[in-house]
């Protein structure tokens, strides 16, 4: 991956590369950002996870200089960018949620043009454009006009354009939304490779699994507020000592749940869904006594499952929001989090 970013770039040790304090933004009566603060360390892959309209794009727009904050401060690589977003624009690459390349130019010309915007000399522009086209498997398509590209090809070229000047910080706004599974996987692999080569990445997404798999640290953003922010292991920590068992029992009802709770103290039992009991305890839950207990009451356990904890549980606990909110969107788009 050294071909894609320059891993020899100097990184300021310890000091956060992005420092945001009290960032607020309203559009008329709509509060898009309600005083958010966060830091991103150099080389970190930081994720903004939130449902539609949470304020993710607004945050990226303000950080990159496309929008102005009502309040708050922004420092990027030590530079005060609150009033002067231009100060750090040479350091950052941006991949917007919707492509903003030129439909009437070829893929190759688009990349060369973007490189020129960062002052790259001609020979370097051409080499870099070829290199990126090859990397994204667009060498052939590079001769065609961007307007005729498929959605996935457009997204790839837009990412290539964001990487053209080997930025130290990359902003990715929902890079895998609305594209097919294979392309999404390829892009996630690229993100991991970039991360491995030392690029700082600010990623927004509404796919929980994607955030969990890729990010070092995640901020849950809901209604313009960061409700929780931590490293993925830390986020999962509170659930580590929790044991859950799902039992599928025909005709399971509240009465049965209460009987079980009495027979097996130290845990909670509830009817989670039709024909489904959910047991939760601080200690591992053995299966055999439960099956025997139920068999003694003429009930058969058709299936038992120990779901592993994911960020999804954390998200639901913290936000009180149903994950469906995020998932609905996922089903609509062909991409999906896998």
């Amino acid at each position: 991956m050294t071909a894609i970013t320059d891993s020899n770039q100097p990184v300021t040790p310890k000091a956060p590369i992005i420092l945001v304090e009290g960032l607020a933004k309203s559009f008329g009566k709509v509060t898009a950002l309600n005083g958010i603060s966060f830091q991103v360390q150099p080389g970190e892959l930081f994720g903004f996870l939130g449902p539609n309209g949470a304020g993710k794009t607004t945050a990226i727009n303000i950080l990159t200089g496309l929008a102005r904050a009502d309040a708050g401060t922004i420092r990027i690589d030590g530079q005060d960018c609150t009033r002067n977003p231009k100060a750090a624009q040479h350091l950052i690459g941006i991949v917007p949620d919707e492509s903003n390349l030129y439909a009437e130019l070829t893929g190759f010309d688009n990349l060369c043009f973007c490189a020129a915007l960062y002052g790259m000399p001609k020979a370097e522009r051409v080499d870099r454009a070829h290199e990126l086209l090859k990397f994204f498997g667009l060498t052939e398509a590079g001769r065609r006009k961007f307007g005729g590209y498929s959605k996935g090809m457009k997204r790839k070229l837009t990412i290539a354009a964001g990487l053209i000047h080997r930025p130290r910080i990359l902003f990715l706004d929902e890079p895998t939304t609305g594209i097919d599974v294979a392309s999404a996987r390829q892009i996630r692999q690229l993100i991991q490779d970039l991360h491995g080569s030392g690029t700082t990445i600010f990623l927004t997404t509404h796919y929980i699994e994607e955030a969990e798999r890729l990010c070092d640290r995640i901020a849950f953003i809901v209604d313009g507020q960061i409700v929780l922010e931590d490293s993925v292991p830390h986020l999962l920590q509170p659930l580590q000592n929790k044991h859950v068992l799902l039992l599928y029992v025909l005709g399971a009802d509240q009465q049965l749940a209460s009987q079980m709770a009495e027979a097996f103290p130290g845990g909670q039992v509830e009817v989670a869904a039709k024909d489904q009991l959910r047991l939760e305890a601080e200690t591992p839950i053995p299966l055999a006594p439960l099956v025997n207990f139920l068999a003694g009451r003429g009930r058969e356990v058709t299936e038992a499952r120990r779901p592993s904890h994911t960020l999804e549980d954390v998200f639901v606990r913290v936000t009180g929001l149903q994950v469906d909110m995020l998932k609905k969107e996922k089903e609509k788009s062909t991409g999906g989090g896998q």
Binding site: G65, R68, K86, N100
Partner: protein
Amino acid sequence: MKHWIAFWNILLKDLRAYYLKPPNISWGLIFPLAWTGMFFIRSGSGLESTLSILPGVMAVSILFGTTSMLSVTVTFEKRNRSFDRLLLSPIPLWLLMLAKTSGAILFGILNAFVPVVMAALLTDLSAVNWSLVVPAVILISLASTFLGLFIAVSVSEVFEAQTFSNFFRFPMIFLCGLFMPVASLPVYLQPLSYLLPLTYGVDILHGAIRGQNHLAYPLSFGLIFLFCISLFLLSLRNIYRKWIL
């Protein structure tokens, strides 16, 4: 140096993508031709009136050539979001906007010389003071372009930009002394004429081409230059206020 690479490539991209397209080139030729023809027929006079209508045709060619381009190179690009890419690049906004307008300025200057070439075929241009015509044409092109820019960044839809620029362009044909002297306008309209940059540019052209200017050259040059600066700065301000939300 880096900024100039960016400047040059933005200009080059616009030239290739918009200005050097066949419809645009033919527009640059047909438009002055149509105006010239129209005025010959209207005035019923012969070739001897060529010089009297030349300044007006030159000015109108510049005005329409420049302003009509800005709604595409700026408003349209903002609408389809490719302009965002420019705003996100590390180029100072003033330089970026100069790059985006340079194509229109050049196009305006070239448009102005189409009727000059036509006139040269019809009449004797040896008395024309070129050292006044050239800077005047450049300044008229700058002022018209920046007027177009001001309109283009004050709206968010391409059709708005086009409608809004007609709102300025057509009255200017009559108010700025292109084909009839400002002095022959109703008295209450005359102050309006002097609020428009084109009036000063056209006055210089009338002087340089047939020795009939009403204002002193330094005054006209100074004022039109002032208009250019003000319109450009106002446009930058509008971008800050309306486009960087």
